[in-house]
């Protein structure tokens, strides 16, 4: 019984560390998806990516006003370039997130989680 309890405590430690590591990764990803442009701050998410793509498809390429995280109007002089920047950032951040997430997912002990 004592052995079972010890195992349970070890597993509990592992789960706590796993939970903290996952939360830290999530926050790291959110921070990486913050994008400053022309005096404003944007959160790169699916909604922004889709909207920018839609505007480009509608032929709006220059001097487009977008609302940033504070709903302030920000002039985007070159929307194609802006789109390229936010897509790049999105894929870089999410790919890193994925790789780091896979590493901790495969780690089965506190020691391995920390090394991941």
């Amino acid at each position: 019984m004592q052995e079972q309890f010890k195992n349970a405590l070890e597993f509990s430690n592992y789960r706590q560390t796993l939970s903290v590591q996952r939360k830290t990764l999530k926050e790291k990803n959110e921070a990486r998806l913050t994008f400053g442009h022309n005096g404003g701050i944007f959160k790169i998410d699916r909604s922004l990516l889709n909207f920018v793509e839609l505007l480009i498809n509608k032929g709006r390429h220059e001097n487009v006003v977008l609302l940033d995280i504070n709903d302030n109007p920000i002039l985007i002089e070159n929307l194609q370039e802006f789109s390229g920047d936010i897509f790049d950032r999105y894929f870089t951040a999410t790919n890193e997130y994925y790789e780091e997430y896979q590493k901790i997912k495969k780690s089965r002990s506190v020691e391995k989680l920390i090394e991941a």
Binding site: A31, R32, N38
Partner: protein, 285 residues
Amino acid sequence: MNCGIVIFAHNNRQIDYVKLSMISALLAKKNLDKPVSLITDPSTADWMKESKVFEKAAKIFDKIIITQRPESGNNRLYRDGKDKIAAPFNNTNRDNVWYLTPYERTLLIDSDYIILSDVLNEYWNVDSSFLISNTYKDILGDHRIGYLDKNVSETGVKLLWATTIMFTKNQESKVLFDLVDYIKENYKQFSDTYRFNPSMFRNDIAFSIANHILYGWEDSNDYTLPSVLSSPDIDFLYDVKEKLKFIMLANDGDSYITCSIQNKDLHIMNKQSLLRNYDKIMEQL
């Protein structure tokens, strides 16, 4: 615009703030690629010369600015995990940064704030004269965050975290820094109005109240800096592995939870444990 980072360091007999600043400055330079200046006082500068770190510091810092040592009416408990020591906390001249900074746009950081990412670079051109973080995050999660980590007092005025401040040197920001100075000089009086404990001066509280007043006695809804991910001083920095991976032991009541932080800015409040890892960090910088 001429941009740079500023760190204050006023040593006391227990904590070597200069060494902390050197760690913090090298990491900030590495990740943000901006010059870093140190603001210190004559006695700390003398100690730097005596302990032969002045030359090293002169190479790290863009400028070493000597100012008057603030009055040390502030005594605080420095925790080192379960141990604690009392020492003077010379933090009451932070508002002077407006006058002392050599930069037009300044990022002011605490000496125990470890910049491990380039996230703050997104904020240099934000259209706001003054930016501060309004969110505290704990490395273990929300269950260790209390009401007074989010609010100045029961009045519900939102607490801002002066661990990171970015400002442009202009008249708008001057009004704010001058108001912080006024609040500091009348701290007891403001504590009656805002109902906080005045026993120790806290920059976080002074900046929160100043911001609250300047926004018409309301919480600001302006731009803010990213949340301050923090490890309180009941935790330990246990080790620093390759590629600047910080291994933390986070106090969770009776036990410690191990976790690692890499490429994410971190406020390590246990200064002694940060200093114990000084050599390991410096080797990698």
